[in-house]
Amino acid sequence: MPQSNRQQALESVLRNASVWRAEQVARDAPAGISTTHSALDQALPDAGWPLGALTELLCEQTGIGELFLLLPALRALCADGRGIALIAPPHPPFARAWEAAGIDLERLFVVDADGKALLWAAEQTLRSGECGAVLVWGQGAGRALTHRALQRLHLAAGTGHAACFLYRAANAQTLPSPAPLRLRLAAHAGLLQAHIVKCRGIPRHGPIPLPLFPAHWDAPPVRRIPQPPPVATPPRLLAAPAPAKLA
């Protein structure tokens, strides 16, 4: 088929009113909670973190700000009177820091579980609708974290109208997932970068840089390791003079 004919055929298909282009997907009233990062909000179909759905966060490393990224949303949900659940976090949460971040500690609870119990706890918490956000660390679930388990989490999030954030290692990106939103998080030059792996509509290409930590951390004055305060060391014993060689 010549090029022009092909173009015409395509045009006629596109003129059909029942055919929609992915980029024309209607952006109705945002159902999400703002991430407070305008670049990310613009890239996400709900203009924020989706409520009532599973969101996968695929982290290349831990400790790059993957939790810090969610804090504004968690704070907003807390202010709404909804709870926050941490299911199987890899380390114990530091109460002071969560309080300083504006999270009401009375609305926060932590569940230590693994395997199927982890997924069960996450599903029950989501389904109850008491928690606005349920953060699940998937490493503890091991083999129980199947496609079917993810589907259950997604449905439970819909039932409870809660946001379910599932942290997984970045190598899970190749596995199929029912989550409508999947982000890969990586650190680059001191900044957290989010890559949209999957979302409704056309995912934006390229990384979205997210400044999370205080700016002065990222451009620190060249600082040497501060020297420890002088420690009183006992004067070094002088080497004993070598005995005179006997001729």
Binding site: P92, P93, E130
Partner: protein, 500 residues
């Protein structure tokens, strides 16, 4: 005054069948071991022609596969006691009658229950749910109510009389034997041809009194309401325990839920009567020759709903593997706590939300164990590891955070710096020692210092002194850590927190 009588003629048989229905013929035996008699027989046994008061040997001859259970009077007394506890939800005035049934004075609580017919329906349905069947009757005097209930085993219809005139008419037709007088009194009356209460009442009062004694005349007067009939009311106890025995072995934990529901309904009735709830109760599984298993079920706030308790017990039993077959099931509760009744609201509000929150905590806690579920609260202090504490979510009504929290404004006002010092969201339970190279400490690579030092020096008074300089560092992969150096030692670096 209006009295409801509950007469339980087949209590021994119903107790034997509460744990589960027996399909085969079964009788309860009583009397001397040399010649036991049938006290009551189930429908399957009656089909074979077994009737009460028959010798057990004769019954065995009629029904080959007959199961004979010995009657336990102590168990029956306990069951009646628990039934009185349960009935105290309908009226505070419950009396045990001769160890065979209950009398409830309901005049004062009729309005609460919306009248007599709804109340009778509720009592009837409640009894059925508990696994009992009782003859119910209503009369203005307790003795008359009792006689009417007793008359029902001879086939009389259920009777409700609220006025004295119709009561008298009906009482006159009843047989005298219902009073339970001794044979020394009944035999001469029968010899005179007097079988019914009405005939007795027609006799000259003075002569009757002289011949048969004041007790008989008093009973007649009390039944008709001519003289007062004071009753000692039952006082519900402060603790509750109920159990049921199975006539067979139970191997499946979930099969225990059906009898458990009956026990929990008794518990709920008792709690309603006391206007209270419980925060924890024990589920006791008795095994053959293997002692017993005790499961404690706790809830966040005082509760009394059977359905809620049953749902939690189900979660627990699903996780439990029975070490040996179960022969009996019991529940026990002490520590009554005030129960707040909440109005259901159409629009979800803070109160209904708090209830949902409690239900979620109960559900997670009962399956995973209360220690796998915790909340955080902060304590005053400077050493980071001592300012962050866990608290159980099922610990009680008052959130511990509320106890320990200090006003948020105070430290901020006193703080000299405008922005609070950085704190990581994860804090390791025990700081991890870092490898130190020539260029400085290393944690999965070379570390770049972003912020610090922040000196924390505290605890010299309690034997755990901490003198540390904290830094925020980042490695080449972009991971950000909170590390510190021990003040006294030059090369002691520790990883304490992670900025995630």
């Amino acid at each position: 005054m209006l009295w409801i009588a509950l007469f339980l003629p087949e209590l021994p048989l119903q107790l034997a069948q509460r744990g589960g229905q027996m399909t085969g013929p079964c009788v309860i035996a009583e009397g001397p071991t040399t010649r036991p008699l049938v006290r009551c027989a189930n429908p399957a046994a009656r089909e074979y022609g077994v009737v009460p008061a028959m010798a057990v040997a004769a019954a065995r001859a009629l029904a080959g596969t007959l199961v004979v259970l010995q009657r336990h009077e102590a168990t029956e007394a306990q069951a009646l006691h628990n039934l009185a506890c349960w009935a105290s939800q309908f009226t505070p005035n419950v009396a045990l009658h001769a160890g065979k049934g209950l009398l409830l004075e309901v005049q004062s609580t009729l309005q609460l229950h919306g009248g007599l017919p709804p109340l009778l329906t509720r009592i009837g349905q409640g009894l059925e749910a508990l696994g009992y069947h009782a003859a119910l009757s209503v009369a203005p005097t307790p003795l008359a109510a009792w006689l009417l209930a007793k008359a029902q085993i001879t086939g009389a219809p259920a009777s409700v009389y609220t006025d004295s005139a119709s009561l008298r008419r009906h009482l006159e037709a009843l047989p005298l034997a219902l009073f339970g007088w001794s044979d020394a009194i009944l035999a001469p009356l029968q010899a005179l041809g007097i079988h019914r209460i009405g005939q007795c009442l027609a006799l000259p009062r003075a002569g009757f009194l002289q011949r048969f004694g004041p007790v008989c005349q008093r009973d007649l007067d009390r039944a008709l309401g001519n003289i007062p009939d004071p009753r000692a009311y039952f006082t519900p106890p402060d603790t509750f325990a109920s159990d049921t025995e199975f006539g067979f072995e139970v191997n499946d934990a979930l099969a225990l839920l059906f009898p458990l529901k009956r026990l929990l309904q008794e518990l709920e009735g008792w709690l309603r009567g006391r206007g209270a709830g419980v925060q924890q109760w024990q589920l006791v599984l008795e095994h053959m020759r293997h002692g017993s298993t005790v499961l404690t079920i706790s809830v966040a706030a005082p509760q009394r709903s059977t359905d809620r308790f049953l749902a939690l017990a189900r979660e627990r039993l699903e996780q439990t593997t029975l070490s040996a077959p179960v022969l009996a099931l019991g529940i026990a509760a002490d520590q009554l706590l005030p129960f707040e009744q909440h109005n259901h609201s159409l629009i979800p509000d803070a109160r209904s939300r708090a209830i949902g929150w409690e239900h979620l905590m109960d559900k997670l806690g009962s399956r995973l164990g209360a220690d796998r579920l915790y909340r955080l609260h902060t304590l005053e202090g400077h050493r980071p590891e001592q300012t962050s504490k866990r608290s159980a979510t099922l610990s009680g009504r008052t959130p511990p955070a509320a106890l320990y929290k200090t006003p948020a404004t105070t430290p901020r006002m006193m703080s000299p710096t405008p922005s609070p010092p950085p704190r990581p969201l994860w804090l390791l339970d025990t700081p991890r020692a870092l490898h130190v190279a020539d260029t400085g400490p290393r944690c999965q690579g070379h570390l770049r210092f972003l912020a610090g030092p922040e000196r924390i020096e505290s605890g010299w008074w309690d034997g755990q002194p901490a003198r540390r300089d904290y830094y925020v560092v980042r490695n080449a992969q972009g991971e950000t850590f909170w590390i510190y150096r021990e003040h006294q030692r030059e090369e002691a670096w520790y990883l304490h927190g992670i900025f995630v």
